[in-house]
Symmetry: C2
Amino acid sequence: MTSERILDVIVVGAGISGLSAAKLLHESGQDVLVLEANDRIGGRTCNFYDKEIDYTDLGGAYMGPTQDRIYRLSQELGVDNFRCNDDGEAVAYNRGKWRLVSGQYPDTWNPFISLDLNHFWHLIDKMGKKIPMDHPWDFPEAEEWDSMTVKEWAEKTFWFQLTRDFITVHCCCGLCAEDKDLSLLYFLWYIKGCCGYLRYSSTQNGAQERKFVGGSQKISLKIAEQLGKDRVYLSNAVTCVSQDAGCVTVTTATGDSYKARYIIAALPPAMLNKIAFTPNLPSLRNQLNQRYPMGAVIKTMMYYERPFWRDSGYSGSVLADGIISEIRYDGSQTSKGHHPLVGFMSGDGAKEHCHLSKEERRDRIAQRYAILLKNDLALKPIFYVEKNWMEEPYIGGGYVGFTPPGVITKYCKVLREPIGRLYFAGTETATKWSGYMDGAVQAGERAAREILHAMGKISKDEIWQEEPEAEDMPALPFEETFLDRHLPSVSGFLRFVGASLFLSAMGGALWMTKDTLQRIIN
Amino acid sequence: MTSERILDVIVVGAGISGLSAAKLLHESGQDVLVLEANDRIGGRTCNFYDKEIDYTDLGGAYMGPTQDRIYRLSQELGVDNFRCNDDGEAVAYNRGKWRLVSGQYPDTWNPFISLDLNHFWHLIDKMGKKIPMDHPWDFPEAEEWDSMTVKEWAEKTFWFQLTRDFITVHCCCGLCAEDKDLSLLYFLWYIKGCCGYLRYSSTQNGAQERKFVGGSQKISLKIAEQLGKDRVYLSNAVTCVSQDAGCVTVTTATGDSYKARYIIAALPPAMLNKIAFTPNLPSLRNQLNQRYPMGAVIKTMMYYERPFWRDSGYSGSVLADGIISEIRYDGSQTSKGHHPLVGFMSGDGAKEHCHLSKEERRDRIAQRYAILLKNDLALKPIFYVEKNWMEEPYIGGGYVGFTPPGVITKYCKVLREPIGRLYFAGTETATKWSGYMDGAVQAGERAAREILHAMGKISKDEIWQEEPEAEDMPALPFEETFLDRHLPSVSGFLRFVGASLFLSAMGGALWMTKDTLQRIIN
C-alpha cells in the first residue's frame, strides 16, 4: 500500500522494542505505523503451539526482579507470569568431568579452585562498578578492557582450567558467543547491565525467575492488537529510508512506500545493513552495523513423559561444554502432563551442529542428556521442537548482538545517536538489561520519548525515566556469607602467605638478634 | 527494466572481481548482465580527475611481482603501468619518537630490539607455511591461532614495545584494522596469500612496485566498455535474489527484475547483508556476513609544488601512529608538475578523524607531515583530495573485509561455497592476494569457471587455474644476508647464552674435578 498521508512516526520492527515505542507514541496521540519484515509479530520472542504440548517459548522467555519495565508492561496487558523451578541440584560438565554445582560454581575438592571461582564473579562485579552504562567508551580502563577478549583476560587472570572453562560456558550460555569472540569490556558492561553477576545468573531472585503464562510473544501480540491491524503491517521488509528536511520516506520490498515525520529503527544493529539510507549513513554508523554480529543459538525443547532427573535429586539445570551449553527444567509441565527440558545449543555448539537435520540434532542431544543427567531415560523423548535463530534473515541470530574487541570504544558512541529524523531502539541500545525483553522496553520507550521531545511535547529531562520497582516482584538482596565476600583470590592468598612467611622470618630474626644481644650483654 | 529474457549469468557488483567474471563468461559465449549498486564502475578502485592535478587513484592502486593475474588482465586491456619511487630513506614514527628505517625495520641502537624485529617477520612467514590457503580452518594450529588477536600474540611473543608498535602499525597500514581487531590466523593467512612478508611489504619487487597509468579504475572501465552498455547497469542495487530449481530472479531497488540461470555475488561478505535471499541463506552464511567487517580507511592525497622531503634524503615513505599510518611518495609527478604524498588514514586514525570536515583533516594531516618529514614546507600544500571509504553504503570500507577471532575456523568454510545457483566472487574469496586487485581477478575468474563447470562446459579440474608468471614482471628472490636469515629471536639468544653459561660452568667444574682428582692421585 502506498499512501500520501504523512504519519507522525514509522517504527521499523514489531518486536517488543518497536511495539513498546509504538504503544507509547500511540497513547500520546501520535499517528504511528509499524512495519515488520517477518510474517509474524514478536521479533526474538516466538510462541510455538502444538496439540501434543500446547505451547512453548522458542525465543526469549525469562524475566525476574529488577526487570520492572517488562513486568509493568506485561501486567498492564494482562499477561501473567509463573515462577520457574529451582529445586534440586544443578550439574556442571566439562572435559568429560561431571560435577554437582554448589552455590555459584561447580563442586571441587581443591580449595584453591574454589578461591579462583569465587574470585571470578566478585571480580567482574568489581570491574563492572567502573563502567558507566550509558557511555562505556569513556572511562579510564575502557581502551584496555576493549582491547582484549574475555578468553585472553581469563587466561591472564585465573589460575585453574576449571575456572576458565566455567567462564567459557558462561559466555556461551549468556551471550551465545565464545569467550574468544567477545570484548572483555562488552562482557563486563553486559553483566553490569543485568544488575550484577548474581542477578544475571540466578533463577530465584534473578533473571530466570519467571516466565510468561501463554508465552512471551503474547506481549507483542497484545500490543499489536491494541494498535489495530491498520497500524502493524507484516511481511513489509523496509529496503530504503530516505529523509529530507521535511519528512522521511520509507520503501518496502513489496514496493510500497510510506511517509512520516520521524522514524524509529527497532532492529539489531546488524540488521540495519539491510536498509539503504538516503542520505548515506555517517561513517561510524555504517561500519558499526558491520561490527555487531548476532549470537549463534538454536533453542531446543525436549519433552519427556516424566521428570526422571528428579529421581536423582537433580533440578534439570546443567551447564556444559559440547552440543548443549545449558539445560533448564522450568517446571512448566504441559497441559498434557509432559515435562520439557529447555536446551540451549549456543556459540560453537550451534555453529558445529546447524548443518544437521532436526532429527539428527534431537538424537545427539538426547544422547548427551543421558550422560549429563546420568539416566538413559533421556534417550526416550516423546516430543522435540527447536528454533534455529541463525537462519532468520531479518533477525540474524540470538539472543543478542555482541561486539568483538575494539568496537565499543571506537564505534558505540553512535549506537543510539539519532540521525536527523531517524532514532534507534532495540534491546542492544538499552543501558539496563540490554539483550533482554526488559532492555527492549527501555530502548523502545526511550526512543519514543526522544521523538516526543523533538516534537516539543516533553522536556529533555523526561526522555530517560527511572522505573519504580514492581511491588509483586521485589529485588531481594543476595545473601552472601562473610567468607564468600572476603575470600581472597588465589594470587591474593599467595601474597598473604608470602607476606606472612616474610613477617614470621623477620620476627624470628629479630627475636634471635634480641636473644643474641641479650647473651652478649649478659 | 524488467525483461522476461533468461540470461545465462547475472553478476552482482561491477568491481574488478565481478567484471573479470563477466568478461570470462562473455568470452565463453554466455549471455551476461552486470548489476552495480553504485553510479560508477570500479568498486574499490576509483579514479579522480581535476584540472589542477590531472588524475589520481583514490582507491586500490598498487601492483607488483607475483600478481600475475591483474598484470595479464591490464596488459590485455592496454593499461600500462609505471614503477613507483623507492629512492631515499624511509621514516618510522611512534610514541613521539622519530627514526629512520633500515631494511625491514626502524633503526635502533639496541641489538636486542633488532633481534626482536627480525624475529617478527621471519616468524610470521614460518607460521604461514603451516596454513593451507584454501582451507585455513583445517590444520593443527587453526583453533589456537584463530582464538587470539594479533595484539595478544604480539604481547606474548615479542620483548620490546617497538616491535609491538611496529606490528600495530603494520596491521593498520596493511588491513586498515587494529591488531586488537584481527584474528591472528586471519593476519597470517593474509600475509601468506601475499607470498610472504617481504613480497607484501616491499615497494621494489613487492606489492607496491607499480601503479597503472591513468589510474587502476581504467581496468574496470575497459572491461565494461568491452561488454557494452547493455551488459552493465549502474545504480541498480540488488535487493532480492530468489532462486528455484529452474532459475534465479533478481530484483533491484529500482523495482526492476531480471532472470538468469546462475548468479555471481561479487561483493564483500558484509555487503551480502543488503540482499534478501529466497530461500533464506543457510545459518553459517547468514551469520558469516555479519562477521566480516570492512576495514576503516580514508585515502588522502596532499599535493606539493616540489618534493621537499627529498632535500633531506627522505623517500617520502613513512610508517607512523596517529592520524596517518602510512605515507608514500610514488613519484607520480602530475602533468602540472605537482608532487603528491599519498596518506592512508586507517584503523583507529580513520575512526577518530572521520567526523571532521575535509578541510580540518587536510590541516591536521599537513601539521603531522611537518613533524614526520621534519619540514614546515609540509604546511603549504597546493591541493588536497581524499576519499572516505567508510561512508560508502555499498562498499562499507576498505581495503578489505577482515575477521575477528573465531570466524575463520567456525564460518569461513562457507565463504565461497555455492548455494544452489548462487556463486561467490570478490577479493575476500581469493586464496592468493586476497584484498588486492589480483585476488579480485582470481576470485572472479574462478567463480565464472565454477559456473562453466556447472553448465557442463569445462571439467572440474579446470576451475582453479595456475597463472604463469608475467615475463615483464618477474618475481625476483629477496636477497637476505646470512645473518638476517639465521639471527635468533631474543628468547633464542637468551636460551643460547643460558646454555653456553651452563656448559661453561659444567666444563669448568669438570676441569676442576679433574684437577682435584689428579692432585689426589699425585
